[in-house]
Structure formats: C-alpha cells, structure tokens
C-alpha cells in the first residue's frame, strides 16, 4: 500500500524540491509508492487540509527550509504533530542554511537594509498587513522540534533523497556515512604543508592535484561525504554545504582546528587570509554553531 507522505517548505530556495524532481524518469518508480497528502509546490492542498489531518497520520513528513517567519514555526509544529517520522530534509532544515549567515545581525538590521535603505526603494517601511512577522534569529529545525531522521545537503542529491526515501519505504535504517568528501575525491593528495592560500579566482587550478594541496580552501576534509565530491571534481573547492560528518557539532570550529595541523603559518597570518571567517567556514551551518548562539544572545541582550 502507498505510504502517506507530506513535503513542506519553510523559508528556503526550493532546491530540495527541485532535487526530488531531478529524479526524472526515476519518479515513475517512486510516485506509485507515495500517497501525497500535502505538497504545496505541486499539489493544491491548503494549510487547513494539513491542519485537519489526524495527529500522526502522515507516515513520512519531509521538512525543507528553516524558520525565518512565525508562520514557518507554526508549520513546523503542525508537521511534527501530524507525522510519525519527521525528516529534516536539506541543510536549511538540518543546520539553518545560508540564511543563517544573517544571524550576524539583528532582525531589525536585516529588515532595515532590505525594506528601507536598499538603493532602489522609494517608500521604505516594514510590511505588516497580513504578514506573519519574523523570527529573531535562525535556528536549525532540529533545535526546535525533535526529528527522527536527517538528510543534509544544499540540496541533497536526487540519489541522497531516493536512498533515504527507499530506506523508509522498506522499513530499513538510514544512517549518515562517517566519511568525508576527500574519501570520494579523485584528485591526487600529497598531504603537503600549506604555506600560502589562494582565492578561487586566482591563478589556474591543476585539475589532477588536490585543491587544498594547491592552496585553495577546499573543505572536503571536514565535510560529510554524501555528494560524491561533486565540486572538487569540477575544479571547484568544496564549501562544506552538506555540513560536517556525524559527531561534529560545530563545523567551522572543526575546520579551523583541522587547518591548524596542515598549515605552516601562525594564527595571525591565517586570519589575514580569511577576513570573513564566518562566510568562509560556516557556509550553510552558521545558525547551528556555538558562535552564532553567542552572537544571537548578545544581540538579544543589547535590544532588551
């Protein structure tokens, strides 16, 4: 019998949805197994339809995106009530996503910039009528409600989602791998000590050699291997968008400490190479870092 599933989008780019659609003809095998009870991107059910479902009546609830608005928080809580198995789907859901970078500022500063001081704005104000209001800062969804499963990725590859979904449909365990992107990267690694870093636009990359060995900040060594090393394979440094391997809580802290053992430079020198520590080391998971929590607490204290 088909399983009752729901796909919901909190604030996000909808890339996780597109990734599911990217199964293409593979969808023909999956779709008959699913009874879709909610999926606004595709099916015309309304929020009320979801709210009116009996508790625990969704077998698999997929949650994409993070809580930027109070409406997102409501939807997340409804999904928790209605779902037997709740799945944090994608890096926004698991770690807060790129919008977590906004936690460097207060929500007032963010709103001010967008709605009042942007160069082209002609009548600045904060929209309020029929608007849900924003959350103070971004958190990982897993810090707001409990989840049974996580499938990280920005977005997860179609294969990641299919693997997770197939495991669920067959009642099997789905476990995240304890490997890193480097384990899947075909480039030759010499484990050289790094004496200088280059920015990605600088010089020309040797396609056969490890990017980190060449002095490009490739975060494959500290990032979970779920993507198949797709970026380094096309000569582009890994930015860590799938987050850390299991067991690592603070991705950026892990990256910085691991870098310490491969570079031959003092802390000041390293700092000069990376003037934007947060953007460089916490791409999609700043919101779930210790640093973000400390900053958010300080911002809150300042305003109260």
């Amino acid at each position: 019998m088909a399983k009752r599933v729901a796909f919901t989008q909190l604030t996000s780019c909808w890339g996780c949805d597109q990734s599911l659609v990217d199964l293409h003809l593979g969808l023909l095998d999956v779709i008959p197994e699913l009874e879709i009870v909610y999926w606004p991107a595709v099916v015309d059910y309304k929020l009320k339809d979801l709210e009116n479902l009996p508790d625990q009546s969704i077998e698999f609830g997929f949650v994409e995106g993070s809580c930027r608005t109070k409406e997102d928080e409501h939807l997340l809580k409804v999904m928790r009530e209605k779902s037997q198995t709740l799945i944090a789907w994608g890096s926004c859901s698991c770690y807060g996503g790129v919008q977590g970078l906004g936690n460097q500022w207060s929500i007032d500063e963010l709103m001010e910039r967008k709605f009042k001081t942007a160069d082209t704005v002609t009548n600045g104000r904060i929209p309020e009528e029929n608007m849900p209001g924003f959350t103070d800062h971004i958190k990982a969804n897993t810090e707001i409600v409990p989840f049974e499963l996580r499938i990280p990725g920005c977005p997860p590859t179609p294969e990641n989602t299919l693997e997770g979904l197939t495991a669920l449909l067959q009642g099997e365990e789905y476990e995240l791998p304890n490997k890193t992107v480097c384990d899947e990267c075909p480039k030759e690694r010499e484990h050289k000590t790094i004496t200088e870093f280059h920015r990605t636009h600088e010089g020309k990359i040797d396609p056969d050699r490890c990017l980190l060995d060449q002095g490009y900040l490739c975060l494959g060594f500290a990032t979970i291997s779920l993507c198949g090393a797709q970026c380094p394979k096309v000569n582009t440094p890994c930015k860590g968008c799938f987050g850390p391997p299991p067991g690592v809580i603070d991705h950026g802290a892990k990256i910085i400490s691991a870098l310490g053992s491969v570079v031959d430079m003092d802390a000041e020198e390293l700092r000069e190479y990376f003037p934007d520590t947060i953007g460089s080391f916490y791409f999609t998971d700043y919101a779930s870092s210790y640093l973000s929590k400390i900053t958010s607490r300080k911002k809150k204290e300042e305003t109260t």
Partner: protein
C-alpha cells in the same frame, strides 16, 4: 446583514516561494482589495556584506533552487563588472549554453508541473487531481515528455556546473572547469530526441492554446509596462541592453544595465515581503511593469533563431504586439523553449564550446561597483555589488526576477477577481473537456 467578507487562500499552491492571497469583498460582491501576500524573505541584501566577492556567487545563487544558474551568472557578472574583468570569449559561450539549458529545464518544469495541470485536468478539477503527479499517472506520454525535457536541461546544467542545483564553476574571470568533448558529444547525440520532444510540446501547447482561446483572450488581460533584454532588437538572455515598453507598445527606454537606478523603482507594499518593481519615471502604481517570457517576447523585435522566429510571427499574428493577455505567458514560454533548443544546438556545434581557454589567471580584486544582469526564466535579474580594495563586498542591491512581476500579478489578480466575483464572467467562459478524466 452584510455580505462583506475576506477570502484567504493559504498557501497559493504550485508556486515557487511562499505566498498567500487575500481578496476583500464589499457589499454586493464588489472587489475592494486583492493582495498577493509574499510571506517570507531571507535578507541576502544584508548577509552578503563582508563576504569575499568571488565567493558571493555561490551564496547568492541560493536565492533560488529552481533558477540558480541565472543568479550565479548575474552575480559573477556583477563581480566582474566591479573589478573590470572580461572573461575569455569561449567562457562566455559556455555560460550562454549553461543559461539556455536552465531556461529549457525551468520552462519545462513551469509548463508541465505548474501550469499544465489547470489545462489538462481543467481548472475546476478536484485539488487532488490538478497536479503533475496525476499527469504522470493519467497521461503517461505527456508525463514522460515533461520528465525527459527537464532531464536534458538539468543534465546539461550539471555537466557544465558540476551540480544541477546550485552549480559552482562560474567564477570572476571565467569558468573553473572547461566543458568536455565527451559531454559535448553526448548532448549533441541526444539533441535529435530533444528536438522531437520540443516539437511534441509545441503540438500539445497549440492544442491547449486553441482549446483555451477564450480564456487567453478574455481573462486577466491587463495593460502594464514591460521590461526585457535585447541585443540590437533581437531577443537576448545573457548580455544586452534593457528595454522598457509602455502599455501602448512603444519602447520608451533603452539603456545599459549599469544605469538601472534611473529607471527602476522598488515599492514596498504593506502587505508583502516581496517589493514591487516599477518604471520609476511613471511612478507607482502607474509604472508597474512585468518581466518574464511575455515581456521578453513583447520587447524583442525578432527572435535570433529561425523556428523561434516562425513561432513569434504566429503569436503576433494572433495576439498582436504588445499583448497584455496574462495567459499568453504560457505561449511565450513555449516560443522561448524553441529558441533555447535552437541556440543550444548552435553552441554545442561551435568548436569554442570545448576550448580549455575558459579562465583568466590574472584577476585582481579592486574597489568599485558593478551591475550584473541576465534574463532568468521569471524575468530580468539584477545583482549590484560594491567591493573594497581587497575585493570584499561592502554593499549590495538585488532586484530579483520575480519582483518585477509582483505588481503586475496583483493587477491581473484584481482584474480576474472582478471578472469572477462581480461580473461572473467565468460562468460564460467556453471551457473544453479536460484531457484528464
């Protein structure tokens, strides 16, 4: 007793993004207000500040998972403009191929998954019937057609960008990875199939257009301004000047993107987190413009490829220039699909497409500011960045594709609401039998 009421549709479905609809009805069913409430935003404008400019494209493309390629390219072009960098010619060709591949897959997704369910299952079908999943089940041939077209586009995006969603290879100064001969051969080989699927899509679209002619001609027809890119009058999506057409069909502006602030106004409504972009000299709301496929088709004098030009002529013969019919967006999208396929074939046959000379090695950051514009599937997309001497972004302004349309969407929703609630015109519409029973 009063018959005043407010209708809330939450959420608006088959939409990328978060939106609700509020319709306020007064006495006697008079439509007092229609609001398209876009209920979320992420504040990229602010959190791109302080980042290394060459890394910004990889963050900024996360604005949209359906159309990351145009964001990546507009963002990279903005950094290149700020730093006075011109990538090698072959890199530009690869980027054009990249953008057309995305245009194809996005239009396939839009036509089949977002729009077609209303036509194939009929607008009054049960919600559980009106979706692409049901098309796949009930009309497997159409479903397969849709999936194959999307697959070709997404595979090609992945072959160029390393990932089909949030691809990575475009960087200030060119492309980090050349397009390989193996990929070129593979996509050329599959081109015959793609052309056949496109022809089948055109046939299906023609049937839909014929069946729903009454709706196209009469429903939600609203005059607005239009914004779109062109190159010497030709339809263009990667690099050109911008045109503004007034509701009467006259081209009233023709400017390079870097001068956009003279023409672009951004109105902040009280009921939406998405701002309404408009033609500043005309003021708001008079200057509300629309972008996207219909606008591009309206502002272009001609299409640069033969089959697309033929399709444009047929479109103009039936609907004129400009056409303000909101439902004509679907037809315009099909013309653009033909154009994308023709341009992709031409580019795949160009020897430069597999050149390894696709990246400069001497790009230097500098203090400056730059505007990057491309046509995204949903309309003209603009990124504007300011950088300091080290190449760190100090300020940004983003005018994303869809925002160009929100004012126009509201206008057409108001018109449609009046037609539905006040004049009951939908009762007289001549609707065909749905293809999905």
């Amino acid at each position: 007793m009063t018959d005043e009421r407010t209708i809330r549709i939450e959420p608006v479905t088959r939409l990328e993004g978060h939106g609700e609809l509020t319709i306020k009805l007064g006495k006697g069913g008079k439509v007092k207000d229609v609001q398209f409430n876009i209920s979320s935003t992420r504040f990229f404008e602010k959190f791109l500040e302080g980042r290394l400019a060459e890394e910004v494209p990889r963050i900024a493309e996360r604005i949209c998972g359906i159309c990351p390629v145009p964001h990546l390219l507009a963002s990279v072009k903005a950094v290149e403009a700020a730093w006075d960098v011109n990538p090698p010619k072959p890199a530009e060709k690869v980027r054009r191929l990249f953008l057309n591949a995305k245009q194809l897959s996005s239009h396939g997704l839009h036509f089949f998954a977002l729009a077609a369910p209303d036509f194939l299952a009929g607008p009054f079908a049960d919600p559980s019937q009106r979706n692409v999943v049901n098309i796949i089940k009930s009309l497997p041939d159409v479903g397969k057609l849709a999936l194959q077209i999307m697959e070709y586009g997404q595979d090609l995006v992945c072959a160029i960008g390393g990932k089909s969603i949030h691809p990575v290879t475009a960087t200030p100064g060119g492309m980090l990875n050349p397009f390989s001969e193996e990929h070129r051969d593979n996509f050329l080989e599959r081109m015959e199939d793609l052309k056949e699927w496109t022809t089948d899509t055109v046939k299906l679209a023609k049937k839909v257009v014929d069946d729903y002619w009454d709706v196209i001609e009469n429903f939600a027809v609203v005059p607005t301004y239009y914004l779109g890119m062109h190159y010497r009058g030709n339809y263009e999506i990667y690099d050109g000047r911008l045109r503004v057409m007034n509701p009467e069909g006259e081209i009233v502006e023709n400017f390079p993107a870097k001068r956009y602030r003279k023409y672009y106004g951004e109105h902040v409504p009280n009921h939406s987190y998405a701002t309404h972009i408009y033609y500043k000299p005309a003021g708001y709301p008079e200057g509300v413009w629309r972008a996207n496929s219909l606008a591009r088709i309206n502002v272009a004098d001609k299409m640069p490829t033969p089959l697309a030009q033929e399709a444009l002529e047929e479109f103009r013969e039936k609907l004129g220039r400009p056409t303000h019919a909101t439902f004509a967006y679907h037809w315009a999208r099909v013309i653009e699909m033909i154009q994308a396929v023709e341009e992709m074939e031409k580019l795949l046959q160009d020897p430069d497409i597999v050149s390894t000379d696709v990246k400069l090695s001497d790009v230097e950051p500098k203090k400056g500011n730059g505007v990057g514009v491309v046509e995204a599937p949903r309309g003209t997309l603009l990124h504007h960045y300011w950088t300091d001497e080290r190449g760190i972004v100090t300020k940004t302004n983003l005018v994303v594709a869809t925002n160009n349309n929100i004012g126009g969407i509201e206008k057409s929703l108001m018109k449609a609401a009046k037609q539905v609630f006040e004049n009951k015109e939908h009762e007289n519409l001549n609707l065909p039998d749905p293809m999905i029973k």
